[in-house]
Structure formats: C-alpha cells, structure tokens
C-alpha cells in the first residue's frame, strides 16, 4: 500500500504516503483509547528491534506498537564495543536474514546504516535513527501531533530550534514538513546550523524572538552535549539566554505558540520545565502519537500480503 518497501528516511518520501501513515495513525490512536488496546493485525509477523545505540524511548515506543499489533518481537542491543569493529554489522545482518525475520527496526550511530542493511537482507527495514542522518518515525509522529493540533500541515509555520547539524530529528522533520507543504525556519547557534542549506527549502534565522513571532509551533531539539566532541556551546546559561524556550521569553509574545520536544529534555537548558509542563506544550501527545504512528507504519509496511511469508 505504501510505495516503498522500507522506511529509511523522509528525503524524497512520497507526500501521499506520509498522509496515509498519519491517517492510519489516527485510527490507531482510537485503538489506544480502548480498554483493550491490543489488536491481532500482525499476528505471526516477527520483528526484531536492532539497537546499536541506546535509546530507551524509541525502543519502548516501537516495542509497545509491536505488542499492540500482536507481532512477535525480539530485541537485540549491541554493545558499543562490538560495534567498533564494524564487521559485526554484516554478521548480525546475515544472522537476522538466516532467522527469517519479517521486519527489522534499527537504530545505528552511522548515517546510511539502515540503507546499508537493505543490501544484506530481504526483510522490511524501518530506520529508527541512523546517526546524524534521519529519524523518520520521529518526524512522522511530530507531523501527526501538528496535524492533530491544527487539522492540517499545509501552510503551517514551524520553527526548529537548536542543534540542527547533528540532528536526525531536524533533518527528517525538514524533509517531511516541507514535502507536506509546511514552512520551516531553523534557528540555533550558527555553528550548529549546516553550512550548506541549499535545496533543503528552509529559512534560517538566528533570532529566536523573530522565529516565535513568525511560527505556529516550535520543535525544540535537545542540545546534545555528548554529541559534541568539542565545546560548540560556550555554556548552558549562554545557550539558555540565546536559544532557550523560557517562560519569560514566551511571555513577551502575545501569542499562544505550540511547543514540541522529541525528548529527552534538558529542563532549564533548551526548555524551561514550566513551559514543558504548560498547556501549550504537546510533548506528551507526541509520546502517545509515537506509539500510534509506529503502529501505523508497522501495520502498513508489514501488514500487506506480499510481505508475509506463507500466510
């Protein structure tokens, strides 16, 4: 039903398929509101969650989505030490292939790893984050949350705030939002903005207040200190003062702006706890929509007849 067998990234991903996923996800939201939240749609489908990098949230969200669809799931977490010797990647992939797994959800620290995996195995691959490249399911749940809030994506003005250059969330959001007809402005320290932005179809503005005035919603990224080998941000207080979503800053603006955050948050750095807990933040809706949209993705990719072995 979707045009592509895998979900590797949103660059060039058909807009109508993004819409299909979001529409389906809203249906699964309904299932998640039921007293019995489990449906048998993916009975007999085996999915492995292959996590070469720690990610409690994304993994739990995927696992929950799989369990609620009645899929059989296996978790595989590779230690970072075995990863250093990159050979294990191919071995792991071939092992999975030999075990007749139907689908693989993979998180990996290297850009392109998900695509790389498709070269070794026939299973359906869902990219749960490949290094600083893409995190398509996060972007889809973000778009679903915006859709829920505004009833549309076309014409929305979205600010993405923070470390853009190291962010797979930012890149997938940019691809997804622009292809769905939203306008995107990125905002952050100039050294955390990619130097080459042509044909990303985004605006750049380093003045957060102007971006707040302009935008309907802000997607606030985690400032990932551990990702930065060298001191790219002088200090927490400088970041907070310049790019932090603080209550004082929001108070200066007369509008009610929607705040999103992919989590985990650094409260008091990129976002104030007070803002995160306020009504304008839809951070917990994002979490729920994360399960629903991952259910939709799994359902649409793994549910088709052709994809399931003997039936």
């Amino acid at each position: 039903m979707l045009k592509q067998k895998h979900l590797l990234g949103l660059e060039g991903y058909p807009a109508e398929d993004i819409q299909t996923i979001i529409d389906t996800a809203f249906n699964f939201r309904e299932v998640l509101e039921r007293p019995i939240k489990k449906v048998p749609s993916l009975q007999g489908v085996t999915i492995v969650n292959l996590f070469f990098e720690n990610s409690t949230r994304t993994r739990i969200s995927f696992e929950l989505a799989q369990k609620r669809l009645s899929a059989d799931t296996v978790n595989f977490s590779a230690s970072s030490s075995s990863l250093k010797k990159g050979e294990s990647f191919k071995d792991t992939a071939q092992n999975i292939e030999a075990m007749k797994i139907d689908a693989v959800v993979m998180r990996h620290p290297t850009p392109g790893a998900a695509k790389h995996l498709t070269e070794f195995i026939d299973a359906i691959i869902i990219n749960a984050g490949d290094g600083t490249h893409e995190h398509p399911t996060q972007a889809i749940l973000d778009m679903m949350s915006l859709h829920e809030k505004f009833g549309r994506l076309r014409g929305l003005k979205i600010g993405i705030i923070g470390d853009i250059v190291h962010s797979r969330v930012a890149l997938s959001n940019i691809y997804g939002l622009t292809s769905m007809g939203a306008e995107v402005t990125i905002c952050g320290p100039p050294n955390l903005i990619p130097s080459f932005l042509q044909d990303l179809n985004v605006n750049y503005n380093d003045n957060l207040d102007e971006v707040i005035d302009w935008a309907d919603a802000l997607n606030v990224l985690r400032i990932q200190r551990e990702r930065m080998g060298i001191g790219l941000v002088p200090s927490n207080r400088e970041y907070r003062a310049t790019f932090g979503i603080t209550q004082e800053r929001l108070n200066k603006h007369e509008k009610e702006i929607i705040i999103m955050h992919p989590g985990p948050m650094n409260r008091g750095v990129e976002i104030d706890g007070f803002v995160a807990d306020s009504n304008q933040a839809i951070i917990l809706d994002q979490v729920l929509n994360g399960v629903a949209s991952r259910m939709a993705i799994l359902y649409l990719l793994c549910g088709g007849k052709a994809n399931v072995g003997e039936n």
Partner: protein
C-alpha cells in the same frame, strides 16, 4: 447496476420488533442481556433494539459497540487505511448474555472477528447473534440466533441495509450487477 427495494421503512421496523420479541422469548432473565452492536450499522440497530425492549418490559439493557477492523482475517488481502470506529464496552461481560447485533450476515467473517475481539472483554455466559438480514453464502460455521429476514442471494448480488441514523432512511436494497 440495478437496485430493488426488498424492505421499506415499515418492514424494517416490523423486523426489528420481531427480533425483540424473539430475544425476549429466548431469554428468561432479560436483565442479564447486554447488546453489542458491530460497527457500522450494528450500532444503531442495537440502539433500536434497546429502545424497543425498554418499551416492552421497562428494562434498560446495557449497550456497547465493537469495531472489528483490525480483527478481520482478510485485511492482508486488501490492505487499506483502516476506518476505525470506537469500541466501547464499558461494563463487564462476565456471566452476561451477549447479543451481537449486525445488519447483514454473509460470510461470517465479521462475526468471527467480533467473537475474537469479545474474548478480550471477559467471559460471557452466552453469546447470541441478531441480524436484520441473512443473505447466505457462509464461509464459516456461524449461524444467527435471530434473523429479521432471510434473503437468499446469487453471485453478483449484494444486499445493502440503509438506516436513518447512518443513511437518512430505512431501506433494504438488493443490488444486482456487482463485481
């Protein structure tokens, strides 16, 4: 495509009334009955049955609804964006007589899916099935306990139930020339 009206508003009304009588005849302790409508048209049908029974014997039965979209075993044949409706069963089924209500009984797969899903909500004492129309062509060993009207159909024929609540009028149509 040719349409033929098999039941008009009055006939539909009569059938529902008869269903209610049969239900009450077969169940000596009507307060133990719960009605579960299967989306889409099973839900308003269940509501009408509830209303009539209340008129007849003065008991308000519990009523719920079931969405079986994800429980159908044939979704892999025709994967599409599911149109999910609410599943609302806010009471326990333990020890109850559950009457599943649907508009048309055909292959039996919808009912099988409903039975399947119902399992999650507890252990009913009995499950019975009430349908407005039975058009035959079963693919599973499933039989309705209460049938408003039997309408044998041939290949290329389709029965369409219209209800005021969902379609604006009460009519049962036989449609010919369907693929």
């Amino acid at each position: 495509m040719k349409e033929k009206v098999l039941m008009d508003e009055i006939a539909v009304e009569r059938s529902i009334t008869r269903l209610c009588h049969e239900i009450l005849e077969h169940n000596r302790t009507p307060e133990n009955i719960v009605l579960i409508g299967i989306h889409n048209r099973g839900v308003p049908l269940a509501a009408r049955i509830k209303l009539k029974i209340s008129e007849f014997i003065g008991i308000d039965l519990e009523q719920g609804s079931l969405d079986i979209t994800f429980h159908r075993d044939d979704f892999r044949e025709r994967l599409q964006v599911p149109e999910v409706k609410e599943t609302d069963i806010s009471f326990s089924l333990d020890g109850k007589v559950v009457i599943l209500v649907d508009d048309v009984l055909y292959s039996g797969r919808t009912v099988r899916a409903a039975l399947d899903e119902l399992n999650s909500f507890g252990r009913a004492a009995k499950v019975q099935l009430a349908v407005l129309v039975d058009r035959g062509h079963r693919e599973l060993p499933i039989k309705a306990d209460y049938v408003g009207k039997n309408i044998p159909t041939n290949d290329g024929e389709h029965v369409s139930v219209l209800l005021k609540e969902t379609d604006g009028n009460d009519n049962v149509l036989l449609i010919k020339g369907v693929e």
